[in-house]
Amino acid sequence: MIFQIILLIMLAYVVGFIYFGLYRNILARIQGRYGPTIYQSFYDSIKLFSKKNTVNYGWMFYLGPIIMATGAVLTLILVPVFSDSDFLRSATSQGNLFVLLYLMVLGPLGNALAVGTGGNPFGVMGVVRGLTRLIGLELPFYIAVVGLIIAANSSDIVHIIDMQKTGGLNIINHPLLFIAAMISMVGFFGESPFDIPGAPQEVYSGPRTEFSGKFLALLMSQGSLFAFAKLVLIIDLFLGGADSLWMLVLKTLAIFVTIIFIGVVYGRYKVEQAVDFLMKIPTLIALLGLARVIWFG
């Protein structure tokens, strides 16, 4: 079990960083630049681990990024990676979808505590923007997830994957729910138009303003683990999971690239605009999908 967990973390770490490098490349090409090498984020993180911190704001500032990393690792090990084999799935039976939904906010809470301790008002503004955005962001996502849970009559992710083997993929059965969840996912990945918390030119880099050295490196590493976990969760819920490593890469990449493409096209919303938008169109789409689940199964 411990071996599998370590392997899973390593896999997520590598894939997450490569995806992030890919993201920087795609962004650069769209903007007419060459961009860094695909491993640049990896180098950055290793370099940052050896850099000194600018300042230290006491023990809560120290523990915050660690809580965030713990939240990301915990989320990761509870998501079933492969649909057919029990490989890398050692801990998934201990949790369910609700545990994941709430674990996904535990990490950011740890970070928010460290940011608050740092005392930088821009960092806290970023956190508050993020939490306010969450009100809007979670709504379509929750409706989509609840729709799937009601359809499967279970909050167990493995059960939802198994349902799709016989009953067809959820993306085909519940397309409206998928669209709503994807719109939320754009926000969860911090992409435009919902990149409000860490908005550059507005609040420095938001919650990350005061972090440097190994803490920034830790935040980057957990970010890649967390991104991988979120991608795998989406393909588990809607695309029937992945039966091999290649399918895993293919499916997660497809989702990731879609999210990036949406992100690069749009400008940034203000926080109230984002919540207003999310409470209207995506929520409506999700509710239609939910109505379909409840009345037509």
Binding site: T70, L109, G119, N120, V124, T132, I135, D156, D276
Partner: protein
């Protein structure tokens, strides 16, 4: 003084532990009226909950120099609640209810910052609750010829439907007022925020739960969940009745959550949060399914623990600093570190995040909603939970993080030990309920049997099991601790020189150096951006105060009108009153 009353608070717990089980005492007043105390599993649960809460609050009252009659009133209140939860008939119940109302009224009136308007609000709403209760009791007596719970329950089925409905509405209104359902919550916020600081914890954690006990008593015992199903029919996989009640609960929860975020006074935020959390309980209490009842009971327990913890914590800070607003506090984390950690545990529980007990109770309630296929209710609960992260963060940030905003905060000392001991016990309870969510199943199951519902499956002390998903609290807790320690060790191995921040103004601030006059504490700003969101603003700009103020104004006007009828001659007025009542009497006799 404190230690005597501490002992007096322990005694009923020991008594209940020693002689409890199937306590059945009755005492006949006249031939027809018998006062009786009957111990049920439900009553026992609420009895222990309130007694232990009182004990913990009394411990924390040690550093306050309180008078003897304050303690006596508090003891009386505890006694009244014990009567309520052990009552076997409505007369005993009502006596307990009344003692509870006025003893708490006197305690609240002893507060330093109470004003006459808030007191009037409290007593008026308590009276309204009591009148609604007594009306329901009298109506049920006229049909059952008895005040006994068992007799009324037996004869309830033979009552006409409109009487049944009236009874349910009257009882519900009475208990909704105590629990603070939105619309009837007008008294809650003022009372909680202006009551003595430590007594607010009793109000929120225990007294509001008497409303929940009453609802359980009516829906589960008197009417019976099976009878509710027959009376109102079904929708999706649940009952119409449960669905209606669930919407009331969810609306309460969402509205109160948004209201909580915009509060500047610490205790007002907690009061709104209390309303919101009770909204969850009311949302699932009417389902009439195993998971619904179990979720409501579990959340009752968790909410009691959390609100005791938070209110004691805040009371300690207010006592220590003399400040009770977010805009006056801040930056206390390294001054009062233990308090900070306790509050942190409290808000993680309040937000319902996994390693702690808050998650287990929410999970149970969500399961109940899945089980009945009430999807919108489930989304409403999840949504209100997501919004509650904002006020949870505001609570911890406004008090402990950021920058100090008033003089004296930078030299503050840790709060006295008497405040910390109950907090540490409660925080441990939260950790334990998080790691061993299955342990509570054994407490719930007898209550489920009492309501003739199916028992919960028990799969071990760490596992919370249900038909639609399960989780292992012990695994998640130990994995969390393990990964946390592991990452901490790894990170601390990386030696990197860091300048210890000596000056708190040493932050990146647009290339400038902030001075002492720069306002850096963001505590004021929280929640203002919510006004710019249309949907949220629609909630925030409305208030029940407008309705009740208008009602008060109309009552005043009509009484002025009435007083004009009195024109100085008492005889004529008396004759008019006599004629009016005789007319009423004849109408009553003829119909």
């Amino acid at each position: 003084m404190n230690s005597i009353f501490l002992l007096l608070n322990i005694l009923p717990i020991l008594f209940l532990y020693q002689f409890g089980g199937d306590l059945h005492v009755s005492f006949s007043l006249t031939k027809d009226f018998t006062l009786s105390l009957i111990q049920t599993p439900l009553g026992t649960f609420f009895a222990y909950l309130s007694l232990i809460s009182f004990l913990l609050v009394t411990v924390s009252q040690k550093s306050k120099k309180l008078s003897c009659n304050y303690y006596a009133l508090q003891l009386l209140l505890s006694f009244a609640m014990l009567i309520i939860v052990l009552a076997g008939d409505f007369i005993t119940f009502f006596i307990g209810w009344e003692i509870m109302t006025w003893s708490s009224y006197f305690i609240i009136s002893k507060s330093n910052n109470i004003d006459i308007k808030s007191l009037q609000k409290y007593i008026l709403f308590s009276l309204a609750s009591a009148f609604s209760l007594i009306a329901a009791i009298v109506i049920s007596y006229s049909f059952a010829n008895s005040f006994d719970f068992a007799t009324i329950s037996a004869s309830f089925k033979s009552m006409p439907f409109d009487i049944q409905l009236t009874l349910i509405i009257l009882f519900s209104l009475s208990f909704f007022t105590k629990a603070g359902v939105i619309g009837l919550h007008y008294w809650v916020v003022d009372t909680y925020s202006k009551a003595p600081d430590l007594f607010s914890s009793i109000l929120s954690a225990v007294m509001s739960k008497m409303g929940i006990y009453g609802l359980f008593l009516i829906y589960g015992n008197i009417v019976g969940y099976q009878e509710l199903k027959i009376m109102f029919g079904t929708i999706l996989n649940g009952t119409d009745f449960g669905y209606t009640l669930a919407w009331i609960g969810v609306a309460t929860s969402i509205i109160a959550t948004f209201k909580a975020i915009t509060q500047d006074e610490v205790k007002r935020l907690l009061a709104y949060s209390s309303i919101a959390q009770l909204g969850y309980i009311i949302a699932v209490i009417g389902f009439g399914t195993t998971y619904g009842v179990a979720g409501a009971l579990y959340h009752t327990l968790i909410h009691t623990i959390i609100k005791l913890l938070l209110f004691i914590n805040v009371a300690a800070i207010i006592a220590q600093t003399g400040k009770n607003r977010f805009s006056e506090l801040g930056g206390l984390i390294y001054r009062t570190p233990v308090s900070f950690v306790m509050l942190l545990i409290g808000i993680i529980g309040l937000a319902g995040m996994p390693p702690l007990g808050g998650f287990a109770s929410k999970f149970m309630m969500y399961n109940a909603a899945i089980n009945t296929k009430f999807a919108l209710i489930l989304i409403g609960m999840l949504f209100s939970g997501a919004a509650s992260f904002l006020y949870c963060y505001k609570l911890v940030y406004g008090i402990y993080l950021g920058h100090p905003t008033s003089k004296g905060l930078e030299t503050q000392k840790e709060v006295p030990l008497s405040y910390l001991i109950p907090q540490i016990i409660l925080a441990l309870l939260l950790v334990l309920t998080g790691a061993f969510p299955g342990a509570f199943v054994k407490v719930i199951n007898p209550i489920l049997t009492q309501f003739s519902l199916k028992a919960l499956p028990y799969d071990g002390v760490g596992i919370m099991d249900s038909a639609v998903g399960n989780f292992n609290g012990l695994f998640i807790m130990s994995a969390f601790v393990a990964f946390f320690v592991l990452i901490l060790l790894l990170i601390s191995r990386i030696k990197s020189k860091a300048k210890n921040n000596i000056n708190r103004f040493d932050i990146s601030y647009c290339g400038e150096v902030p001075s002492k006059d720069t306002s850096l504490h963001y505590g004021f700003g929280f929640g203002t951006e919510l006004h710019r969101i249309k949907f949220v603003n629609a909630i925030l700009k409305r208030s029940t105060a407008t309705f009740y103020d208008a009602l008060a104004l109309q009552t005043k006007r009509s009484s002025e009108l009435l007083s004009r009828m009195y024109y100085g001659n008492i005889h004529n007025t008396m004759i008019i009153i006599l004629l009016f009542f005789s007319a009423l009497f004849f109408i009553g006799v003829n119909s």
